[in-house]
Subunit: 345 residues, 2 copies
């Protein structure tokens, strides 16, 4: 293989692309928490929001406290009591973090699911950082209305208040080539079924503003702070092409209004966060012309933790649909287990 790689020339460089995927192969929860603890933008934005919101004496819910950092920040911001709820074993680390910061007497850790457990009282405010990829992949749209209804006093504050997810058509030949299994041809096995599966997944990547062909346009918006009822707005992003170009997929990111004047922005050229951007690859690069309209819809499926999506892309030229594709990660090998009884064929 070493020889083959040398002959192929670009082989070594391609192998380096493995690194970009390697971490993902880690089944190591601490990695995920490490990512978030190492994301200074995330920490600072949530800290600013808590400082803006917590009034001295407030009783606060930290829904899904993880390593406990936001619960500590709420206590530091003046909360009299924080209910920090977490269903994973990391709640034990969170207790240690509270102790190290001298606020274990003001944080009550509860092991369980904040969607179903009963707090001893309704609270003055809540923070919930279930913001996953594309803003939607950790189920915040399911969680936030439940938190408001189940745990908050009337008029209580909550973080985040609103969420907007954007989509843009992206030109990125290197990324597309890397995803499409550049090694597939060197092992003598036809991997085209796996290539299909790749386009039924979203991929966390770092995109740049310069990669954008057209857009961004909103594809999902919800404002929990608006007077009810305020259903989410979930309509296709519509983008007009302004120059002939090639589209390899769609980039998606979000911005969350955490508190008045405090926004978390994960757009391509905003300060880098652990969310980066997500990329939904097209099976084949798509040639577009000036005046074309591109549509991208992203529908969270009401199951699992929120990371299942249906998405659709449409290219319209002169009023005619030239290209259309529908995708869903609910039917990839990862998620097939949800639809099948395990057992021997």
């Amino acid at each position: 293989m070493a020889i083959k790689i040398a002959r192929r020339g670009a082989g070594r460089a391609r192998l380096c692309a493995i690194i970009a995927y390697q971490k993902a192969a880690q089944d190591h929860a601490m990695y995920a928490d490490h990512v978030m603890l190492n994301d200074g933008v995330r920490l600072e934005r949530f800290r600013a929001a808590l400082r803006a919101r917590v009034r001295p004496g407030d009783v606060v819910l930290d829904a899904g406290t993880g390593s406990g950092v936001l619960a500590v920040m709420a206590a530091q911001a003046g909360a009299a009591r924080v209910y920090a709820v977490e269903k994973r074993g990391i709640v034990n680390l969170a207790r240690s973090v509270a102790r190290a910061n001298g606020c274990e007497d003001r944080i009550e850790f509860l092991r369980g699911d904040f969607l179903s457990l009963r707090l001893p009282e309704r609270v003055d405010g809540a923070v919930c950082e279930l913001l996953g990829y594309a803003g939607l992949a950790e189920g915040i749209t399911r969680a936030m209305p439940r938190i408001i209804e189940r745990h908050l006093k009337s008029g209580a504050w909550f973080i985040p208040r609103a969420l907007r997810t954007f989509a843009a058509a992206v030109r990125h030949p290197a990324l597309h080539e890397r995803l499409m299994l550049s090694c597939a041809s060197c092992c003598g096995v036809d991997l085209s079924p796996a290539l299909h599966e790749i386009t039924q997944n979203y991929w966390v990547e770092s995109l740049a503003g310069a990669d954008i062909v057209c857009g961004p346009a909103p594809v999902f918006e919800v404002n929990w702070a608006a007077p009810p009822p305020c259903p989410p707005v979930n309509e296709p992003a519509r983008m007009r092409v302004t120059r002939a170009d090639t589209v390899h997929g769609f980039g998606v990111w979000f911005e969350a209004d955490l508190a008045p004047g405090v926004r978390l922005d994960t757009a391509p050229d905003a300060p880098l966060t652990s969310w980066r951007q997500v990329f939904f690859p097209l099976p084949d690069p798509l040639s577009v012309r000036q005046g074309d309209e591109l549509l991208f819809s992203l529908t969270p499926l009401p199951m699992a933790e929120g990371d299942l999506f249906h998405w659709r892309t449409v290219l319209v030229r002169d009023g005619r649909t030239l290209f259309e594709s529908a995708h869903s990660n609910a039917l990839t090998s990862k998620n097939m287990d949800a639809f099948e009884e395990p057992g021997i064929r």
Copy 2:
């Protein structure tokens, strides 16, 4: 935050380190399979081993077939029949891969656990690619004797035949600093309990031969092809320091003998694979002198899928133990669930 980062100078660069962890936050099984499909070294080595081993007409077991590539390679190498066993939903992708390669009539896919299921017959040979990080983290040491005992004819071949895991003391200040939460100081929260937890985990990294202070030395060896009984050899790696230096942790990797003359080597300067190397960080950098002896032991714990370890480091100078530390990822937040009943405190 953008301003703060600019003031801190190195902040932006540090934030870039987030990327190295980001992929891990992905709970996306396709990523892991994509990694492996994109690892040309892995594919070529296993293909060479199968070509060396499969005789025309052989009945073969692919234990844990994943995306089905090795089962297809076994069929291409001349197997009359391949039993491809997989417990995850990806077996559906594997069936498609077999179909695309025109060998679906020679591969029988079985959904289940090859440790417990019963095959219709004993087989002439088996391939099992449960080689996880450090060679040990996917449970091959538990699987291989069971495969040999349960599924193979007497005298059958199997891949791999032997496994050796090595450890070396490593100097890597940048890696150590990155792992130790460089952002911890910018959020006003004392994260020292999380720092402790980081040293109770292993981290997948790319190390270079030049990072090695002393070693490598074997820390785990097993040869399934030797006449029984052949228990694994699991003794501390012993390394003599040849120059004064600083040790930030221990690097660990493996080599597997796949077939006579076919070896998979994941050492630091070998061709890059998806396994890279793993790094076990020390809590604090350790100063060593010429003549010191370093010991590193790595004990797989007999539970889970094989990714739980106990490890110990010792520094001996002039016959006296100067430093000693014991670690285990069985007690990190990821794995605490195995030891606790979930429920509300």
